[in-house]
Symmetry: C5
């Protein structure tokens, strides 16, 4: 792994309308020269939070508030946006799943942008910004032309797009679960519904504050946030609402599925009970009658009758037939 | 099918107070000349989204934002309204059902209007705007006289009117379902309640944002939206609220029906249990007594008694009668 | 019936501080002369909506918006208030019950008022405004002195007062239902709770928008709505809230009653099960023992014992006594 | 009882910083002289609403709006605050319990205050304002120094303080109920939970609008309500919120208790079922085996075997032992 | 214990940028001299509320409103913030747990701050402010440099940080409870879920108003609250929201766990019922057949057949096999 090198090496993209340069720098001090060139913007990606010393240096160069650095390091920080005079700070959560919906991971991505720089802090080195790098290479890309707020929007957009993938996976899983419950296969366990609900709560927990961030962004009057780029932010905002509505739909579906499961249990129990009742109700009285003629009283006139045994069989048959008719009428089988 | 021709041929209605002309054009460039004549308004209907090239050309002629074209093409776009300096963009969902409430289809209809043009984008060629065409032919119609915002309102109104049809169908289906549950016919399956709930969620999902769109429209201060036409928009807005309230009513009804179904299951189980208990409680003790006198002990004085057998029958009768009285008093049958 | 005459004859009350005249006019054109006399106000009641021609004429005389006429004719219109420059339009729902709470009827009453006129449109001829007529005859009545907005308020007030009657009826019905559930009489069926809930939803559906109308009225700045009369509107507004709170209370009560019903079913089932279990658990082992000594093995020493039979009875008694003690301790009977 | 005298005799407290005089007047007209002395304030307590004539006179002297008198007389009036140019009108509900929480009574107390007078209307003569009288006698009391709004605040405060007593009683009752459910004593009946819920709804119904009144008071800009006294109103406002939160807590607790009760019913039923199943599953097969050897076939070789009977006992023992092991493993007893 | 001395001895920290002095004073009058030195700030900690005389003196020195002293003494006061011209008063609740989550204690901490002083009132002497003392000793600490509002923020922050500890403990307990339910160990009792819910409600009850306080603080325009320190308050505010969201998540989890528990009870009951039904359904008919041939009729031809007994065994075997196949198909075991 080149994790070690990636800690000490920073990837810096310096760009302008007709300019793009990628540099790998090892000394954070070099960033001072980038900051000075106001006609160019640059993006620094810090791929992991392990090198606290580096973070300290970066924080000093860009004049980042100590509480912000604290928030960046606290990877269970709730997503939020905070405005300072010279820069804006955004915490977001990236969701990704390894294989199945059960292994959803949340990772914190923090963003700081000023008038000519964007800094992104990843929790662990991931390739989430590959799409961004590709778009940046395109000289006609809006990422080069529009301000740092557009650039930050593009980073958030690429994060939010991943939520759709997760939601899609989740929808499939729930639909599959629903099919199994309706088909009444025993393979579906109650715990799986319970686990889906838990996962859902976790996803919602990450998504909700992102909607809030974008809502605050839209209403912000900070000079770094330009009116003309708001159409783009509205777009991600709509996406975040769409995802939340999708999650809410799934929540209701799961709650209905749990209810459906419960009702099916009751239906099954009813069926079991009916079987027991039908069999018991038919045979317990018959057994009683056969018991009567198993008694050893000396004086039992029926026992001597020639057709006694036949008659008893007749009684048995009539009783069985009667019971069957009765249960048929009650719709019990 | 004339789908192919419909892709390349655009239906254009040019109209004014005392003028109506329908043209079929094949080259989108011809639209430039329409745009120029500011004293006339025109409506272009694009019946399907398959010809991306055409969309591109139209987008350039009318100066439509790239994100708008993206939203038009993404047919799972959430309904929304977006205002630009020179035009307003609206996404709506049309609902229609083939035969039963189970086969509800949602189709996206996007609308763009400027000072003298209205463009409508359908997902697939459907005859939803036939009513509009008819009204347009009437020289006294408000569609000719009032602005493009009224025209757009009329298009949305004709879409929202279809929701009433769906709601009516849904109400009938739920009422039918309710009747069957109360009459306790076994034909109604739990899955049907579950499916109605699912369909309801889907309809609500489409309707909710339409209410939002109309609410934003009412509050909008965009110059394309004229104060004097707001009475009409208020009307559709009221309709959307009415539909949502109708859906909410159905949601509550379905949730109560599910509860009713559960309770009826319990009542049935109680009945089954009572049958079992009554029969068992009567005959199990009797069987025990008959078992006693079936024992083969050498010394069993009762067996030699002359009226032993008769007495046993007396015991049987008294016990049965006692049980019946007891269960009658307990209201068990 | 004089329905036919009532269609073509309009009842017009012309009034001022010291003046009251009731006229029956047949030609709507006569209303023009009333409109002209600004120093007097007048009230026209249109008792049914069957004569569309009449409505058309009235609408032209009073310059009523076509959408308003549409709303008046659509008797499933949601209650609403709409302000125009020269008049205000209000749709309300009147509720009345024939005998029991099950037969609640909703009827639409639409009101239009301008600076010196009030028009009321009833769905069918009903005597709901008799109280109004009485008050009008009193020369000191505020109805004569205060503006047309007060008059409209008085009409709405007389409609809302009927809601209290309905709520009272409903409370009685629910309380009765509650008594029966707690006393556990079998006569109360689950469907009645279900039906009360349904009725409740229907009443709420009509009441909710009336509260909204009154809330809008209070905030309105329309010149026809006078500040000094707001105390009266606040009063009806408070009433509408009181009714809604009463309905909400009933909704919660009904939901608790349904739960109570369910729990009582479980309690009853527990009781049934206990009876079955007690009887079975006592007699099944006894039957087994009697079965043992009913076997026909040649070598069964107990059978020859002199006190065998007595001992078996002893065993029976000990077992029965033990079981009874056990079940008593478990509180099972 | 001196109820009769109390109807015709009014208790009037006239007070200023260094002055306090209590008068009993019989003719309401005497109040005119009090009204004139602007340098002094006075409080009139009307202890019951039975003398409508008196109310009429008082209403004329203090220029009280007819609707206010109507609200005072309607003892099921929802608590509210209404501002007039020259006075403010407040309706509140006093709650008190005789002995247990089940006998909660609500009584209406209406308050009207102007620049130098406070009038309180009680539904029935109660001693709720004894504390107020005591404080008034203290020459340093704020009640004498601060305005009539403070005096009214003090009256409301003494009413709200009673709510704490009720809440305390209620908490104790619910806690007691909870203990009994957890200890699973049969003495607690389902109806008591149901009744607590009902009582709770009733208390909440009275408390909620009081919070609203105080919230409106805080925001009011009426000249009778002085900014500097708002700290006191904030205090009662906080109290009303605290009481509502306490009620909400109890509501959730009761709803959980009902659920707990239901679950315990299920647990008990499970236990009953297990007993039945264990006994039946053990003895029914044994009875069958004993039945086999009770058959009277002529050719049944086992019956002649010397150790046949012993072997059957062996089979019995093995089967019983096997079953017990099986049920132990299943944790069924 | 030095509780007695701590009552009469007050700990006073006087501090400035380059100054820190800790004094123990016994006479509250000494505080006057501190109040006079406006260039220094000071913090007084009053470790318990037992000495009312002391509180009275302090209240006079700092001109604290009598209602504030009342709130400080009433240790069940709901957390709140109240602004006065010269000072701000904050009530908070400190939560701490002895060992397990069941023993959560809430203790009231009240704070009063003016332009150069901060007074903290503890319910009982606890060491919660040790961290504060440590930070104060650091000459570079912001606590010395920034205003009294920052100091108060720091005190609240140290209190809110304890909530995270409680939340963590709670999460662990719930997770443990969830594991046990899913693994279906009988050790978990229903009461523990019930108790967790109760504890949760209690924690939420304390946390909710703290969020409110911080929200009011953020919006406050009081001169004692400085704009530039708002970043810090935003931070605690975010923390309070995070804690509330964590509690809400736990609430939903517990409610799902209760549902899961109920469903597992049903599943277990189904299993019990199936066992009973399978055994009964197999053996009851067999017992009946054996009963038939135990009858003592003189004429029973089967009994004389040579292979009668064998045939009966055949019938038994066929019936058992048939039943087993049937139940296997029904998935009953």
């Amino acid at each position: 792994m080149n994790n070690i090198s990636s800690h000490s090496t920073l990837e810096v993209y310096s760009f302008a309308d007709n300019h793009l340069q990628k540099n790998l720098i090892t000394a954070p001090e070099e960033l001072h020269s980038y900051l000075g060139k106001k006609e160019r913007k640059f993006w620094v990606n810090i791929p992991s939070l392990t090198d606290e010393n580096l973070l300290q240096q970066v924080s000093e160069i860009f004049d980042i508030h100590p509480l912000v650095i604290e928030d960046i390091l606290n990877t269970s920080q709730r997503p939020k946006i905070e405005e300072f005079d010279h820069q804006i700070f955004v915490v977001t959560k990236m969701l990704y799943s390894k294989n199945t919906i059960r292994e959803i991971q949340a990772e914190q991505v923090s963003l700081v942008f000023g008038d000519n720089y964007i800094i992104s802090f990843q929790e662990t080195p991931q390739d989430i910004f590959d799409g961004i790098r590709l778009r940046l290479e395109n000289p006609k890309s809006k990422m080069r032309k529009l301000g740092t707020d557009y650039f930050t929007y593009a980073l958030i957009d690429s994060i939010v797009d991943e939520y759709y993938v997760i939601l899609e996976l989740f929808n499939d899983a729930v639909e599959n679960c629903e099919d199994q419950i309706i088909k009444n296969t025993n393979s579906i366990s109650l715990e799986s519904i319970h686990n889906y609900r838990k996962t859902l709560r976790k996803i919602k927990h990450s998504t909700w504050p992102i909607r809030e961030i974008l809502s605050l962004w839209r209403k912000s009057e900070h000079p770094l946030i330009k009116r003309k780029n708001l159409t783009y932010v509205n777009d991600v905002y709509e996406h975040s609402i769409e995802i939340l509505e999708g999650l809410e739909l799934q929540r209701e579906t799961l709650s209905n599925l749990a209810e459906l499961y419960m009702t099916q249990l009751s239906i099954k129990q009813n069926e079991v009970m009916k079987t027991l009742t039908v069999i018991s109700t038919i045979f317990i009285p018959l057994t009683f009658i056969s018991g009567i003629y198993g008694m050893n009283f000396e004086v039992m006139p029926e026992l001597q009758w020639k057709y006694g045994y036949l008659m008893v069989w007749l009684v048995f048959s009539v009783m069985i037939a009667g019971m069957i008719v009765y249960f048929k009428k009650k719709n019990w089988f």
